[in-house]
């Protein structure tokens, strides 16, 4: 299993007991609230709220925080550049370039928002299995074909990842060590190409299996979602927290 993906099947904890649809909507509402703020106190309480949800979701804390902090290198680069590219009151100088207070604040603001949203997303939605996510999105009226595409993708990620690992091991056994060389790029390209070819052939077998079971153009989706009083309590709490964050901003 790929670390991170699908760790939350039948996850327990308070969050695990909440209806998946509510969790998805809560993540979106929370993200909107946090992103609309600029005030430090509001953003910090947003991050604190996300940390609280993380604890309630019983996800492994350290790996999740590590994932939260990890960003694309180019985002990190842009954040580091901001103090120097944004005009404003000079704060300090580095290698002859002046850094502005406004730029620094902007970078911190973006960092806080990004981390709070991602953390809440992982805790609320990442703590359900990808299949449950698919079912929830279907019930939230995402197009049916998109949901089936999502479910087919998650169904085969693990199968193909295992295939990839076996091929990689076999490559290593023949002395392959990735480096920045043409040989490496060609080998990786062949690897990806071969996996695509096999994926297509597998999909032909899947289609054959479907026709053997009388496929008539529809995939079943069963779920047992039911909204109870806990879910309403959780929804109310989410609205309350988001209101508080926005109130801090306005104040």
């Amino acid at each position: 299993m790929i670390p991170g993906l699908d760790q939350g099947e039948e996850s327990m904890g308070v969050i695990g007991g909440i209806d998946p649809r509510i969790r998805v909507v809560a993540a979106i509402v929370f993200a909107m609230a946090v992103v609309s703020c600029r005030d430090m106190a509001a953003l910090l309480s947003g991050l604190a709220a996300a940390l609280g949800v993380l604890v309630l979701a019983r996800l492994p804390v350290l790996p999740t925080l590590r994932r939260m902090v990890a960003m694309d290198m180019f985002v990190v680069f842009i954040l580091v550049m901001l103090p120097f590219t944004m005009p404003g009151d000079p704060l300090f100088e580095f290698a002859g370039f002046a850094a502005s207070r406004q730029g620094l604040m902007r970078a911190v603001e973006i960092g806080l928002k990004a981390n709070a949203v991602v953390l809440a997303l992982m805790a609320l939605v990442g703590s359900m299995s990808s299949v449950t996510l698919g079912h929830a999105l279907y019930r939230l009226r995402l197009p049916e074909n998109l949901v089936h595409l999502l479910l087919f993708t998650v169904r085969y990620i693990d199968v193909l990842h295992q295939e990839y690992l076996r091929l990689r091991i076999a490559m290593e056994a023949r002395g392959f060590q990735p480096a920045t060389t043409l040989h490496t790029m060609r080998s990786f390209g062949y690897l990806v190409g071969m996996m695509l070819v096999r994926a297509l052939e597998r999909s032909e077998r899947i289609l054959a299996a479907m026709s053997c079971r009388g496929f008539v153009g529809h995939f079943p989706l069963f779920d047992a979602f039911r909204i109870g009083w806990r879910d309403w309590v959780f929804a109310a709490a989410t609205v309350l927290v988001c209101t508080l964050i926005v109130a801090l901003e306005i104040a």
Partner: protein, 229 residues
């Protein structure tokens, strides 16, 4: 008694490849558990696909459930009544959860959602797999996947079973479990297997596919002599 499935003089080759089947004759009668063996690439899986109409033979006749089957429409009924279990369970378990996968067939046969659910419950109970009902298919172990693909096919209440290496890469307890299940099923079946010990436990008859034709196998090993009839 007339055979449930009868293949005669089947010839087949994949485009641009040497021929795979060169005159296969096969008859399956009620209550038989016919085992097929043969080297990798001999064409065993290909033969199954021809029997249910996924592939069309270059020459030869397929008679199934009392009628010769020719066009695509003819084979719709054959696919329904002959439950084919694929060699790789990952090719067959394509729905996200076990209950959805097993219900896939019955729903396609026009059952309502509730009827389908009842069938799923029933099949899982018969195979003592009730605990797997809501599990996510891609997180099942290899043995569990195998058993669920079997359940998914049984849910369609087929008259004949075609099993492609059902014990491939299974441990001994799961293999035993499958032996038990198969021996208890009323359906006639054709089972592809490389494992002589497994074959000995279930087969009422064994054939070997070699050089494109089916033949009674020559025992090579003293303990294999008890195979066949």
């Amino acid at each position: 008694m007339s055979p449930l499935i009868q293949l005669s003089g089947i010839h087949f080759g994949y485009p641009g490849r040497p021929p795979v089947l060169q005159g296969v004759d096969l008859q399956l009668f009620a209550e038989e558990r016919l085992c097929l063996t043969g080297a990798n690439g001999a064409g065993k899986s290909t033969l199954f696909q021809i029997a249910v109409g996924l592939l069309r033979p270059a020459r030869g006749r397929v008679v199934a459930f009392g009628r010769e089957r020719l066009g695509k429409a003819d084979f719709i009924e054959v696919k329904r009544r002959a439950g084919l279990v694929f060699q790789d369970p990952d090719d067959q378990l394509f729905c996200p959860t076990v209950i959805e996968d097993i219900a896939f067939g019955p729903l396609n046969l026009g059952k309502s959602k509730d009827e389908a659910k009842a069938i799923v419950g029933d099949v899982l109970e018969r195979l003592r797999l009730g605990h797997l009902r809501d599990r996510i298919t891609h997180k099942l172990s290899g043995g569990e996947k195998r058993l669920v693909t079997l359940a998914a096919v049984l849910a369609m209440e087929p008259d004949v079973l075609l099993l492609d290496e059902p014990t491939n890469a299974l441990d001994e307890p799961t293999t035993e479990r499958i032996v038990e299940i198969l021996n208890a099923l009323p359906q006639a079946m054709i089972v592809i297997s490389h494992d002589p010990h497994f074959r000995r436990k279930i087969a009422t008859r064994t054939l070997r596919l070699e050089h494109g034709v089916l033949d009674v196998p020559q025992p090579r090993c003293s303990h294999a002599a008890s195979e066949g009839e």
